[in-house]
């Protein structure tokens, strides 16, 4: 093991470049999966005929598949049919679909947990169903779902590492390549990568705990 040699500036810069891609993929996927999850979760909650059942079916299927399979399918299998998506966006699309399905369930159970009395009161004061949903149910539910949602975003950040399967030059891919250049780099590179992931996720988990504490 050669920590000093392994932590030369070019090596560290290489790993940090990977981490920057990781952060970009994670950031975009968080935004997209939040939008997808909120829409799908709300649709499933509203019990719209046909639409809710279809959404429930799709969400349950996606949640029960390995994310690795989804990313590989989008990045490596779809091109066989002529649908070519750049590697970066293949990772973002795969993550957004999978984590979106996860968040849809968080949103749905948050909506279900809203007190029926609140809904009845809103309806009785003359709000339409859409107004009730928009101004009463969603804001109340959103507060309750924020801790599990932050936990899901931590999972998302960890899951970006699965993009090694489509050779996206994110942090784990660069660890893999650096490890290939010398045996003595393997453990130092893995330690550095773990610390980067840990720091980012631990900060988020502290936020999640704060949010949870505020509930009570």
């Amino acid at each position: 093991m050669d920590f000093i040699g392994a932590y030369s500036w070019p090596n560290l810069r290489y790993l940090l470049q990977g981490f920057w891609i990781t952060v970009q993929v994670a950031g975009l996927s968080i935004i997209f999966s939040f939008i997808i999850g909120t829409v799908l979760g709300t649709v499933r909650y509203t019990k719209t005929p046909f639409l809710s059942k279809t959404t429930a079916f799709l969400v349950d299927i996606i949640r029960n598949l390995p994310l690795l399979l989804i990313i590989f399918f989008i990045g490596m299998v779809l091109p066989q049919t002529g649908i070519r998506i750049p590697t970066f966006w293949a990772a973002v699309v795969g993550l957004s679909i999978f984590e979106g399905a996860m968040i849809a369930e968080i949103v749905r159970s948050g909506l279900v947990s809203v007190d029926k009395g609140q809904i009845e009161a809103a309806r009785a004061s003359g709000l339409s169903y859409m107004q009730t949903l928009r101004h009463v149910i969603l804001p109340l539910a959103l507060r309750r779902m924020s801790p599990p949602m932050v936990s899901q975003f931590i999972s998302l950040i960890k899951d970006t590492s699965l993009a090694v399967i489509i050779s996206l030059p994110e942090l784990m891919r660069n660890v893999q390549i650096l490890s290939g250049s010398s045996y003595s780099y393997v453990i130092p590179a893995l330690v550095f990568a773990s610390l980067l992931y840990f720091t980012l996720n631990y900060l988020l988990s502290i936020i999640a705990k704060r949010l949870e504490a505020r509930q009570i």
Binding site: F72, K158, V164, S179, Y197
Partner: protein, 219 residues
């Protein structure tokens, strides 16, 4: 290229089954290993010794905040770098055990701590021994929280075992890659692979859902 090319399934049946077998094996070994390790860590976390508690907490917090793939690479790349040879399947399964143990430990700890302390105190003051208290009062109540959580971890293990595909660990994803490369019919190949995963995860999900409802009603 069609979605349902059953010739692919028939011609490569042996490879699909070999992969499915290894995926199941890795998940089950992962479950057993992480249950053993996770129980140990949970005990450390609720033990009245500061050092043990700290070790347990650091383990859980560290592992839960890094990707599974990092843990697997510590075994798959790290051990050979230290001169210890290890095959991909073993390193992948060890990674699954170490990673999942952190989540199982949290589930067990949460389950035990969810039982109100008044229950223990009442049991002990009515003359039950510590073991009797655990056996008849605490564990039967903790199980209602712990069992569905462990079920969820088994579902995650099945899905997470796909990382074996990244390190050529002979699982479904690995064999799918072989079949895909030899036939170049990725769409049907991976559709069947998805079906095989669903065959494992959907019944498990339904079982966990059923357990959660049963236990919720019995409260």
């Amino acid at each position: 290229m069609t979605l349902w090319d059953f010739n692919i399934l028939v011609e490569h049946w042996d490879q699909f089954m070999a992969g499915l077998g290894q995926t199941i094996l890795a998940s089950l070994l992962g479950l057993i290993g992480s249950l053993v390790l996770g129980t140990f860590i949970a005990i450390m976390r609720i033990a009245p010794f500061r050092v043990l508690k700290a070790i347990g907490t650091i383990y859980v917090e560290f592992i839960r905040n890094i990707p599974l793939l990092v843990v697997v690479f510590f075994f798959f790349l790290g051990l050979p770098a230290l001169g210890i040879p290890v095959d991909p399947f073993t390193s992948g399964t060890l990674g699954l055990m170490v990673y999942t143990a952190a989540f199982i430990a949290e589930a067990i700890r949460a389950g035990i701590q969810a039982v109100p302390s008044g229950q223990s105190e009442a049991a002990r003051s009515s003359g039950l021994s510590y073991i009797q208290n655990m056996r008849y009062i605490i564990l039967p109540q903790a199980v209602k929280i712990v069992l569905p959580a462990i079920g969820n971890q088994l579902i995650n293990l099945v899905k997470n075992s796909s990382v074996l595909g990244v390190i050529a660990g002979l699982d479904l994803m690995y064999y799918a890659d072989l079949i895909n490369l030899s036939t170049f019919k990725g769409i049907p190949v991976y559709t069947f692979v998805a079906l095989f995963y669903l065959l494992l995860t959907v019944p498990l999900s339904l079982a966990v859902h059923y357990m959660e409802r049963r236990f919720a009603r019995s409260n």
